[in-house]
């Protein structure tokens, strides 16, 4: 852990200032081509940010349609088919076009190279290629959704998806298939960057926990995504061959296929994909809590290795999505047992985060409110996962609103809060301006309240047995559904507020110094905000761990609070 890895290959040291690389990355070329053909990891991060914001808005609007429809038991605004296509579109957009690429795409790209002290990613051209591949996949997915939609649910279970569905299954699935390659490219780039491009003195033991989390995430992306590709390819073959009238049976039992095989392949990716979504968020929260409580992280090694532990054990629990799907009794026992083991590293993280606050000097700026909100909501999401990993209770709760609430607490309460925390934490570094302190705190509180109000009633609905994916429902479920929709409107207000003050910050925000939060990480070391194209004037020399707040010491050995 303490050996210093010295190599200059990855992060070349420029003795002579290089004029082109020494202006703010935002001012290094203004033409549209300077953005579209950029290989600068920071600009690529911004490209991701723009598209992700757009897709999040689309996914959020679709969620609004779903919630509106569920205000009345008979379905307020949508026909059954429209509803089915709406919730499928919500799932596909939010998962494949927002959650999976969100933090890796924006903050992984933007900050991992700076945080390890490198000039750029290991493979800058692969990096921009990953954005284009993702856009291509997103294009197919959006095309499928706009020209008839998918009515399969994001899980795409055959034989429904290959036989009965009357949507654009092949086009939509092809889109998702393509986005997978982008995910692999980003993962590969981050792994190599962290291995090969660390600045002198940036040992593994001094690596920020965000980089550890991104490293674990990238491992999963690299190893699991190919299995999704296999599953989707087989699904496309079956769907297309059905449509062409020469059916090839892979998953459809009427053609001697096995529908449960698809579920195995699908969840072999999609369960680890849950960790692709949440691990980066966990990394962000470690950065936020230490900075705003001015403390070293409690148990650095435990937090770092629990990320890797989640990544590894996360591969061994996929069939807990299938306890009632007709898998064998012994398989169910094994997967339930293994699922208990994957719960432990998450618990370790929560305990370490809370202990980090002990005897700190805590301030409550918006990033910290998001970070604390993450702990509160993620704890609920994590604990309710135990009901579902336990066989006896999963039988009742499976496929009900309990599941919906559980994964929204993890994905939305966890990941989206971490994403917003990251946006607020790094905004001054990315754009050099500060947003309104007051309104950002209001926004954070609104969103956390909205989430809780939206998804808490759904646990109770699920315990009462309301199934997922119902456009209409027995009348006794109405009260809780109305409450849930009310929560959505509170969230919506929060998001509109956030977008307003963030956009306003470009025009009226006061200049952020190089290190407005007095943080210790290497990403605050560049003397300017926003950073110059080459990130650093000279290759930084790392002399300290990432969270020496109690010593007031940045990783390059300067005082953290000198602004």
């Amino acid at each position: 852990m303490s050996t210093t890895i010295e190599h200059e290959t990855g992060a070349p040291h420029h003795a002579e200032p290089h004029a082109a690389g020494h202006v703010s990355y935002l001012k290094d070329g203004y033409s549209i081509w300077s953005w579209l053909f950029t290989v600068d990891h920071k600009r690529i991060g911004i490209l991701y940010l723009i598209m992700l914001t757009l897709f999040f808005a689309v996914g959020g609007a679709l969620a609004g349609l779903v919630r509106l429809n569920l205000i009345t038991p008979s379905g307020m605004i949508l026909e059954n088919d429209q509803y089915n296509k709406t919730f499928t579109a919500h799932g596909v957009v939010m998962l494949f076009l927002f959650l999976i690429p969100s933090i890796p795409g924006v903050f992984g790209n933007f900050f991992v190279p700076i945080m390890v002290g490198a000039k750029d990613m290991a493979f800058p051209k692969l990096n921009i290629a990953s954005w284009y591949v993702w856009m291509l996949g997103a294009g197919f997915a959006v095309l499928a959704l706009l020209t008839g939609g998918l009515d399969t649910g994001w899980t795409l279970y055959p034989p429904y998806s290959t036989r009965s569905s009357h949507g654009n299954v092949v086009t939509g699935v092809f889109g998702v298939f393509i986005t997978g390659f982008s995910s692999i490219m980003t993962g590969l780039n981050i792994i190599v960057t962290i291995h090969r491009m660390r600045a002198p003195g940036m040992t593994w033991g001094r690596l920020p926990l965000f980089c550890w989390a991104m490293y674990a995430t990238s491992l999963i992306q690299l190893l699991a995504t190919p299995v999704l590709a296999i599953a989707l390819l087989l699904l496309m073959i079956e769907s297309a061959s059905n449509a062409l009238g020469v059916p090839v049976g892979i998953f459809d039992p009427a053609l001697d296929g096995d529908p449960v095989l698809f579920q195995h392949l699908f969840w072999f990716y999609s369960h680890p994909a849950v960790y692709i979504m949440i691990l980066p968020g966990m990394g962000v929260v470690s950065e936020l809590l230490t900075c705003f409580s001015r403390k070293n992280i409690f148990g650095y090694t435990a937090v770092a290795w629990s990320s890797v532990g989640i990544a590894i054990v996360g591969f061994l629990v996929w069939a807990h999505h299938m306890f009632v799907a007709g898998i064998s009794y012994y398989a169910a026992l094994l997967f339930s047992l293994l699922s208990m083991f994957v719960a432990v590293p998450s618990a370790i993280k929560v305990f370490n985060w809370v202990s980090t606050l002990y005897r700190g000097a805590i301030s409550f700026q918006a990033p910290m409110i998001f970070g604390l909100g993450f702990i509160v909501l993620f704890t609920i999401g994590g604990l309710t996962g135990l009901y579902l990993a336990t066989l006896g209770s999963d039988i009742h709760l499976h496929d009900t609103y309990f599941i919906v609430a559980h994964f929204h607490f993890v994905m939305v309460g966890g990941m989206v809060l971490a994403y917003l925390g990251a946006v607020h934490y790094w905004w001054p570094k990315m754009f050099g301006v500060m947003y309104s302190d007051f309104w950002s705190r209001i926004g954070a509180v609104l969103i956390i309240t909205g989430y809780t109000l939206t998804f808490m009633p759904q646990f109770w609905l699920g315990y009462h047995g309301m199934p997922r994916r119902y456009p209409n429902y027995p009348a006794q479920f109405q009260f809780l559904n109305v409450m849930s929709t009310a929560g959505y409107t509170v969230q919506l207000a929060g998001f509109l507020l956030i977008h307003t003050y963030l956009i306003l910050s470009f025009f009226t925000g006061k200049k952020a110094g190089p290190n407005p939060w007095a943080a210790t990480g290497l990403e605050w070391a560049p003397t300017e905000s926003p950073p110059i194209t080459h990130n650093f004037d000279t290759t930084p020399r790392v002399v300290a761990g990432p969270y020496e707040y109690s010593l007031n010491l940045t990783q390059t050995g300067e005082k953290a609070d000198v602004r």
């Binding site: 059954n80 034989p159 606050l357 039988i395 009742h396 009900t400 109405q478 953290a560």
Partner: protein
């Protein structure tokens, strides 16, 4: 209406009692843990808040790096608790898999978007929302095609399969659900403990009218159940559709008719057998040509009809055609299997030589194997 969901859901089966105990146990443990975490979080946030509001930058804090003892404690203690959940949950799951040996078997066939339920005594009902004007009825005073009736305090086994896509048969009041998978048979069992009317939901997304694949199960006392099976009582006093069926014999009896109609009798007979006689084969060990053997269970009987060439009996030729879903629906298959299971010694019907195949029987030429001149057991 509000009270119905703010109160606890009805608990109407043996398993429901066990599941609820487990759920409340997990809730208690997680509740205490969660409140502990939140308590600590709140306490730290108040006590250790920055004394000068909004001031960033240096503030003296102790340099605490961690504690191996605490890490060990909060690794081991949660793991032990989680393993406790696992063991309790596995115990209940095990219970769902092992029905009492004398439980009667009720077959459930899922189809977009209805449930077809067959009782061994021959009664059958269809559950499903009237899809024509669902918007007026769903969720309100629902109009159901039929109602599933179950006896209180008597175990029943349910065996499910699907004709098209994956469905899931779930009864929240029983805290049980099971995926209904095409090409597979899945089973569980219920021991209803409280009379009343409860919801049946399709829990696995199955297309446009997924939310209309719902119905009611009525749990009644033993006498009423007997009357219902005989077709002399219905849950709504005989007003509803299909709630009071005249019963045309038991499932085994209906299977016997199919056995004749499908011409099974042409080969599986005692006078001039070209295929094994099926009397009392259920539960016996069957020897195959490739040297393997299995105990004849439901799965084996179904496979021997759907794919007869998969396992060929020692001493017989593979001359039987496949009976796919186009010739024998899943429901009819259940009837034929029920008949074969019920066949006692000497019960096989007598075959007459000048038998005219009835309308609808398979018409294609039977493959004339080597054993066409009566290849009985060697």
């Amino acid at each position: 209406m509000i009270l119905q969901t703010t109160m606890l859901p009805p608990q109407a089966s043996e398993i429901a009692w066990h599941v609820d105990n487990l759920i409340w146990f997990i809730s208690a443990v997680c509740g205490i843990t969660g409140l502990g975490v939140y308590g600590a979080l709140l306490y730290f946030c108040i006590v250790y808040r920055r004394k000068v509001p909004n001031q960033l930058g240096y503030a003296p804090t102790p340099r605490i790096l961690g504690s191996h003892k605490m890490e060990l404690a909060w690794t081991v203690i949660p793991l032990v608790l989680f393993l406790g959940f696992f063991a309790w949950g596995a115990w209940i799951y095990n219970m769902c898999f092992h029905e009492p040996p004398d439980a009667p078997e009720i077959y459930i066939v899922g189809k977009q978007w209805m449930w077809k339920i067959q009782y061994p005594e021959g009664q059958r009902v269809i559950l499903g929302q009237n899809s024509l004007d669902y918007s007026k009825t769903v969720g309100g005073e629902g109009y159901f095609e039929g109602v599933m009736v179950l006896p209180v305090n008597r175990p029943v086994k349910i065996i499910t399969t699907s004709e098209d896509v994956i469905h899931d048969f779930g009864i929240p009041a029983f805290r049980q659900k099971i995926d209904v998978v095409p090409g597979r048979y899945t089973s569980t069992w219920y021991l209803p403990t409280k009379t009343g009317t409860y919801d049946v939901f399709c829990d696995q997304y199955c297309g446009t009218n997924h939310s209309l694949m719902v119905g009611k199960v009525v749990v009644v006392d033993g006498d009423t159940y007997t009357k219902w099976l005989a077709g002399t009582w219905s849950p709504d006093g005989g007003q509803g559709h299909g709630n009071r069926n005249a019963v045309d014999g038991s499932m085994a009896h209906q299977g016997r008719q199919l056995f004749m109609k499908l011409n099974c009798i042409q080969c599986h007979n005692t006078q001039n057998p070209r295929a094994p006689v099926l009397e009392e084969i259920f539960g016996t060990r069957r020897q195959f040509k490739d040297g393997t053997s299995v105990i004849a269970d439901d799965e084996y009987l179904r496979e021997s009809i759907r794919k007869p060439r998969a396992k060929v009996r020692e001493g017989w030729e593979a001359i039987m055609p496949h009976f796919g879903t186009d010739k024998v629906s899943p429901e009819d298959l259940n009837k034929v299997v029920a008949y074969i299971k019920s066949l006692k010694k000497g019960d096989t019907p007598v075959r007459t030589e000048d038998w005219v195949p009835p309308v609808g029987a398979p018409t294609e030429e039977r493959p004339q194997g080597k054993s066409s001149e009566g290849g009985g057991p060697k």
